[in-house]
Amino acid sequence: MTKSQIPKPASPAQARQELRSHPAVRNYTLVCLGALFLLVVCLADRGLGWWCLIPALIGSVALLLHWSLGPPMVIVSLTGLMLASARYRRSYPYWARDQVPTLMDLLLCVAVLGYVMGHYRLLSLVRHIFPPDPRRMRDNASAESANRRSADQVNGRELALLVLALPLWTVLSVVVWSWMMDSAPALEMPVKVWRTLCVGWTALTILTATATVAGYLRWATATPEESLLYLQDQLWRPTRREQGSLNRWLVWARLRAQRKKENS
């Protein structure tokens, strides 16, 4: 390849433009927009009127500007809207064992999950998938491109899996919900407190068990150097003062001998 044939690297603005028009970016944007549309439909079905557009508007702006806080903002706005509407109407039923989620509840789950997955994957393509290295923050453009996921890596299988995963996770959550409904409250606790505790403790137990297993595996596969460092640290911490005093005297003696030698 001669020098003239070597393609020149694209400017940052040009690269950004190319990235926006990439099929993978376009597909994920469409997934997000579809999810937001579904969200609007679900909220409109609840009779929220024009208010149902608020989460969708926030989500669209976040999508346009590639805000990494987009999904949390959509979730928070959705929560606020639902809570406000329930209080305002005073007709929101107290859920119980015999209450069955409606199709619109399930579609709401699908919409939110779809938006969250699509938006975060889109961010990985257009912003960064790996957290930016603070040491390389000065060179902003190159750091961003190095931390970005290549859009060419996205294939049709990935999108199909995403679409398939949406109903799957929704169904799974319904299963967990029905399991929660089955458990009767203990110690005469209020139902909602009991169920909150159930969810919290289950999540914590799973988290702790997983972290323990992962930690054990990490220790089991530690290199000899890591193990030596650990042992050295364990010895140093309780005896650091004594070791420090001894070594201070040793250094003092060495320096004194050195000074004497230089003076002589």
């Binding site: 949390p72 639902m82 989620p101 509840d105 975060y120 890591e226």
Partner: protein, 693 residues
């Protein structure tokens, strides 16, 4: 492991879940559960796939234009091919970045590849490098970053696959190199040359009258018959010509400087690069004409010898030694390790992230806030008297804060002791008065009862204020302490000093600094050290090398025969006071009818010394032109450059005068002369009938 993106998301999911449970609201609960389940499963999946990243196999090959190679050559371009093989489950999204050694220059191709690793589909990538000067290229391995597609979970790992490849010096055919063809049609053993002195050769030199004791077979019978007296034949000598190169590898030639440019546009970063290049040129020229060439590498500590020999294996061995010596970096005792800490820590963060994990190498935050490390050997001069006399200087105030930071532990102990005594003293006085009926004056008792608690309170108050001051202004010191402790632990474990090495390295700055330099040097990380000591003395003159070189030269003379050429590639500028041992050794060599040539490396970027007034004027003009071009520089800097140049010129002239008196040729290594000059010297040795010097 969780990124900020994941933390924010988790927080909002918990919010929606709590709202769904506590309000309660079925749709919110379902949404929250869906998101939480999905998030948890993503996390589990990521954890399951992590061993794939940690157990990666790396296959690396370096190719020239035809085949895979094990040795690199300076100034040439090679292709590095890397293959990442995974024997576990398919991994999450992975970005692998190969760490390009400092000794080579990345030309083209990507050093980073992205994708998913599966047992069936390894990741492959390649890029091209161009080797710089001779030395070592150390490929550390590949940095692996892995994350899920959403960017919630992240793990960085460095897959170590250390490969150290030698970069051998450039071999070039130089103009003016003596021909390797025989001048006479007389086959001689390799490396043997005719010498125009009577000896046991086969070429007739002269005829003379027969003397008793001459072997009868040398009598020229026909000539004797013609002249009617016995005439005997004299033959030429056939002698080997041996050249020994003494290459200086001491600290003085390892000092990095402005880059000069050598053959094939190789940038010389230090004087040693130039010397190695010269030595390689002479070795190659001697090998071509099958002369015996030896190599002696020396520094302040000792010498490494390769006896004079010939042949390809010998040449390769010499080039390897030269490459290894070219990779040597500065080494200095008694240097403040804080100069090297940021560089070393940054490198460790990148290459050994597993050794900085809090689980194995922790620095609890309270340790740096409440204690600090004392570092005994780097004592700080705190001249309070000077502060009072001259007012506060920045350095004195800095030292005050530094001492405050280091002595927090002692300050706390002092507070406890003062509290103990302020409680004990009044108690003792009261007991003495009440129980033992001792006469304790009321005034003294009142003084003790009042002032002791006050003193204790003041001590605690002052200490708290000092701690608060340190916490406000000492964040850099706390960071430095954290770096130092973690690096000391790693060095201690790496160099076999554990378990007590950590505490020793925290106290002993000199030992820590030396180990840090060794660590960086082993990893081929270029670093800089202060060139001048606190008293303004140049730290890298390396005068200790002169006796080492003198001993090596005398030993070589002792083992030498006739016709030896000793080439000293050594930096002796500004070492006039220490030259006596070397001058004696040179006299011995010359007294044994050997030849000595001295090649002095010249700092790159400085105007060359020259005898010719016209050339000197040109060099001066060039220097002025250079300074005029850099008009933006401060006048002090320009003046400093001119003074430095002048100082080096004077030093070179003194050196030249000293050695020329003995009959030793002194050459400046910055010019293109040295290799042809040495080769012409060798040629003179080979020339029949050369006069003995």
């Amino acid at each position: 492991m969780l990124t900020s993106r994941a933390w924010w998301f988790l927080l909002t999911v918990l919010l929606i879940l709590s709202a769904g449970l506590l309000v309660p609201s079925l749709p919110l609960l379902l949404v929250g559960l869906t998101l939480l389940l999905w998030f948890g499963c993503q996390w589990l999946l990521f954890l399951l796939r992590l061993p794939a990243v940690r157990g990666l196999r790396i296959e690396r090959e370096v190719w020239d234009e035809k085949t895979a190679v094990a040795t690199l050559w300076a100034g040439q371009t090679f292709e590095v091919r890397i293959r990442l093989v995974n024997d576990w489950l398919p991994s999450s999204h992975v970005a692998a970045t190969d760490r390009v050694p400092f000794a080579v220059e990345h030309r083209d191709g990507l050093t980073t590849v992205q994708g998913t690793l599966s047992p069936r589909q390894p990741l492959e990538f390649s890029y091209r490098i161009r080797c710089g000067t001779a030395g070592l290229a150390r490929f550390e391995g590949v940095r692996i970053q892995t994350a899920d597609w959403q960017g919630f979970f992240y793990h960085a790992h460095f897959a170590h696959a250390v490969v150290v490849m030698r970069i051998l010096p450039v071999l070039t055919q130089r103009a003016g190199q003596p021909a390797s063809k025989k001048r006479q049609n007389l086959l001689m053993p390799p490396g043997i040359h005719r010498f125009h002195r009577p000896g046991s050769g086969s070429e007739l030199l002269d005829l003379r009258d027969y003397l008793p004791g001459d072997p009868p077979k040398t009598i020229a019978w026909k000539v004797s018959a013609r002249r009617d007296r016995l005439i005997t034949k004299e033959f030429e000598s056939e002698v080997p010509v041996r050249c020994t190169l003494f290459v200086d590898t001491s600290n003085s030639v390892r000092v990095p400087g402005m880059a000069g440019v050598g053959p094939r546009q190789i940038n010389y970063g230090k004087a040693l690069d130039r010397l190695v290049d010269l030595a390689a040129g002479i070795l190659q020229a001697s090998a071509n004409i099958r002369d015996l060439t030896g190599l002696c590498l020396f520094d302040e500590q000792g010498v490494t010898n390769i006896r004079p020999n010939r042949g390809g294996a010998h040449l390769t061995e010499c080039l390897r030694k030269l490459a290894e010596s070219s990779a040597l970096t500065l080494r200095l005792e008694r240097v403040n390790p804080n100069h090297l800490l940021p560089l070393a820590y940054s490198f460790v963060q990148e290459v050994y992230p597993e050794l900085l994990r809090p689980a194995v190498n922790a620095v609890p935050f309270w340790m740096t806030w409440l204690e600090g490390f004392s570092s005994y050997s780097r004592r700080l001069p705190l001249s309070l008297f000077e502060m009072l006399r001259r007012g506060k200087s920045e350095r004195s105030v800095g030292n005050l804060f530094e001492i405050l930071h280091r002595r927090k532990s002692e300050l706390r102990t002092l507070c406890w002791w003062s509290s103990f005594w302020t409680l004990l003293l009044p108690l003792v006085f009261l007991l003495a008065r009440v129980v033992f009926k001792a006469r304790v004056p009321d005034g003294l008792l009142a003084f003790v009862l009042f002032f002791c608690p006050l003193f204790s309170l003041l001590m605690w108050g002052g200490t708290s204020a000092a701690f608060a001051l340190d916490s406000l202004v000492g964040w850099r010191k706390r960071r430095r302490d954290r770096w130092r402790k973690q690096l000391a632990a790693i060095l201690s474990a790496r160099y076999g000093l554990a378990p007590g090495g950590l505490a020793a390295l925290l106290e002993d700055d000199d030992a820590f600094s030396l180990l840090l330099q060794r660590f960086l040097s082993e990893h081929q990380i270029p670093y800089s050290l202060p060139l001048y000591g606190p008293e303004g003395r140049y730290l890298f003159a390396a005068s200790e090398k002169v006796p080492v070189l003198a001993d090596a030269l005398v030993r070589a003379v002792g083992k030498g025969r006739d016709n030896e050429l000793f080439v000293l590639l050594v930096d002796l500028l500004e070492l006039d006071d220490c030259l006596e041992p070397l001058l004696r050794a040179v006299r011995v060599a010359l007294g044994r009818h050997h030849q000595v040539v001295l090649i002095c490396p010249w700092p790159p970027g400085l105007a060359l010394p020259t005898d010719n007034p016209a050339r000197r004027a040109t060099a001066t003009l060039a220097l002025h032109g250079h300074t005029a071009r850099s008009a933006s520089r401060a006048p002090q800097a320009i003046l400093w450059d001119q003074l430095t140049t002048r100082r080096f010129h004077l030093a070179y002239q003194r050196l030249r005068r000293t050695f020329t008196r003995l009959g030793v040729v002194v050459i400046c290594a910055a010019s293109d002369e040295p290799v042809p000059l040495i080769l012409s010297r060798l040629e003179r040795l080979r020339t029949p009938g050369r006069p003995r010097s």
